[in-house]
């Protein structure tokens, strides 16, 4: 059985139907559960999304606008469910985090994701302590307020950076290339710690709890051998 669930936040609102990036955006909301019949599933899924673009679908259960869509293909038979967030949650249907399959104009991509999705905003309560910028402001302008925003808005920002960089990259790569001549590179154990922390966040996000526990152990071990950085100064 192939099941395709998606978060159709891109599909619902505020997307200019004339925009040439829509084709890519449609692809962006697909989340594959099984490799089988991929092409057919994608094609079917696109049909549904195209429909969604022209008319906002209503929840099968309560009639509110539907923003979680599910397509099941069993023994060649296709069934669809379109639910609002609440009904989807009740039905135990969780939308997967969207990922980008087709690269597109990154700025437009970001603008569209931002314009269409309420979910990121919910997670984006943090505010940059230095310049006061919020993720909502970034949504509006597609620009950050200061260098510290990268740290303060890290959680909602990271997937967007990942998407804008390259289709084949699944994990945020580390910077390669020129660096300021005065910049002191962190020591190797600190670097490893940073990498493990990042992997841990990824594992938690992907609900890979066994791996997360493993990573946490590694971090703990490393921390025992490394002096913690002095944050008081």
């Amino acid at each position: 059985m192939n099941v395709l669930t998606c978060n159709a936040r891109l599909a619902a609102r505020n997307v200019d139907p004339e925009c040439r990036y829509i084709q890519s955006a449609k692809w962006a909301v697909c989340e594959e559960k099984s490799g089988e019949g991929e092409g057919k599933l994608r094609a079917t899924f696109r049909e549904v999304l195209e429909q969604t673009y022209t008319e906002v679908m209503q929840c099968d259960e309560c009639g509110k606008p539907a923003n979680v869509h599910e397509i099941r293909v069993e023994n060649g038979m296709k069934t669809e469910r379109h639910l609002c967030s609440e009904c989807a949650a009740q039905a135990g249907l969780t939308a997967q985090e969207a990922h980008v399959d087709a690269p597109t104009n990154p700025v437009e991509m970001i603008k569209q994701v931002l314009a269409a999705g309420p979910e990121i905003e919910v997670r984006a309560a943090p505010e940059c302590p230095t310049c006061g910028s919020t993720f909502a402001r970034f949504r509006k302008m597609a620009l950050l307020g200061c260098p510290d925003c990268y740290q303060a808005l890290q959680v909602p920002l990271q997937p967007l950076i990942l998407r804008s960089q390259a289709a084949e990259v699944r994990e945020l790569p580390e910077h390669q290339g020129l660096r300021p001549s005065g910049f002191k590179s962190p020591s190797q154990p600190t670097k490893t710690l940073i990498r493990l922390e990042r992997e841990l966040q990824g594992a938690i996000h992907a609900e890979q709890y066994e791996r997360a526990a493993d990573l946490r152990d590694k971090i703990r071990k490393l921390n025992e051998g490394v002096e913690p950085p002095d944050l008081t100064e």
Binding site: T130, L143, L144, G145, P147, S164, H175, P180
Partner: protein, 349 residues
């Protein structure tokens, strides 16, 4: 450090590649980005960077202040790709520096505090990068750029974060266009995570078959690797495809091609009024004719230079003329003069 401005750059791509550019985005550590900075901060940032640049006379920069300089001058810099359209929009306290030989320019307070642009001519992407890097490394000793270990150089728009580099090329692709290969080219670019755009950048159409191509990826791949990737995996392929398309046209549709080229030449030699768009389209045909050997007596260089000199900003600077109609006449005059067309008197008598 000496910038390699003297280097020759004849690597034989002139028939396809018009301009190569390497742009680096940098911001000053501890300062808000331009979009968040207040007036005082914008001025402080501008003056700090300008002062560092003025302390480097070896860069040989001329200065352009969009608030005080005549707008025609900005237009000329725009047409030479030394400043961006965004830079010329009314905005914060901006300043640009550029070399008269167009090998280097800097924009202060555009989207980022500093944009360094290095240029090479045909196929000179390595040279463009060397020029940008040379300037950046000199400034690195005087300015503290916002940077972190994971994300590299921090930029106002996260799509530039990392190296902050945008390598771009202006390509003349009339052959591929005529054989109907543009869509395939777009797909190939997209597959390689490259952005293909029109003549003047994002959202613009390709005038005179000129297309801009640039990288999207800026994080996790160093500048040299990116440069190598772009040159080896894309530029050499496009150049090969374009030349093949031109050869195909020449062998299978010679009359068709010759007709287009001769018509273009005739129009350029005899027109009395020429619009900018029309002139660029005709010059594109002319350039194609020269590249495939159907036209002799006019060089590729002349055609390429004309493609710049017929632009409105350049023409206004050269003639002092700003009105549309007289400008069209001036444009036609210039082209006629350069291509050995008849004078109005000799033609009418």
């Amino acid at each position: 450090m000496i910038l390699p401005f003297e280097q020759h750059e004849d690597d034989g791509l002139l028939d396809v590649v018009l301009i190569s550019r390497a742009r680096l985005a940098r911001n000053i550590s501890g300062e808000p980005f331009v979009n968040r900075a207040n007036r005082e901060e914008q001025i402080r940032i501008r003056d700090g960077i300008a002062s560092a640049l003025r302390g480097l006379p070896e860069l040989g920069l001329h200065w352009f202040d969009p608030e005080t300089a005549p707008s025609a001058e900005g237009q000329v810099l725009l047409e030479r790709h030394l400043v961006s359209p965004k830079f010329l929009e009314p905005g914060p306290h901006r300043l640009a520096g550029y070399r008269e030989d167009a090998r280097l320019s800097v924009m202060i307070n555009e989207e980022d505090h500093l944009r360094i642009q290095g240029y090479g001519l045909a196929g000179g992407l390595s040279l463009a990068w060397a020029n940008a890097k040379g300037c950046e490394r000199l400034l690195d000793e005087h300015l503290n750029f916002a940077f972190n270990e994971q994300l590299g150089y921090l930029t106002a728009c996260p799509t530039n974060v990392g190296t902050g580099i945008r390598l771009s090329l202006m390509l003349h692709l009339p052959g591929i266009n005529l054989v109907g290969g543009m869509d395939r080219m777009q797909h190939a670019a997209n597959d390689l995570n490259l952005e293909m755009r029109g003549t003047t950048g994002e959202g613009s159409e390709a005038i005179g078959d000129l297309h801009q191509i640039s990288n999207r990826r800026t994080l996790g791949m160093d500048e040299e690797d990116l440069l190598h990737f772009l040159e080896e995996d894309f530029v050499s392929r496009v150049v090969r495809e374009e030349r093949r398309a031109r050869d195909t046209l020449l062998t299978t549709r010679r009359e068709f091609l010759d007709d287009r080229v001769q018509r273009a030449l005739a129009m350029l030699r005899h027109a009395r009024l020429l619009g900018e768009r029309e002139a660029l389209d005709l010059l594109s045909e002319l350039r194609l004719g020269i590249a495939v050997g159907l036209l002799t007596g006019v060089t590729l260089e002349t055609a390429s230079q004309l493609m710049q000199r017929v632009r409105s900003g350049h023409l206004t600077r050269a003639t002092g003329c700003t009105e549309e109609e007289p400008l069209r006449a001036q444009r036609a005059d210039l082209v006629r003069r350069e291509l050995g067309g008849g004078t109005p008197q000799s033609e009418s008598t």
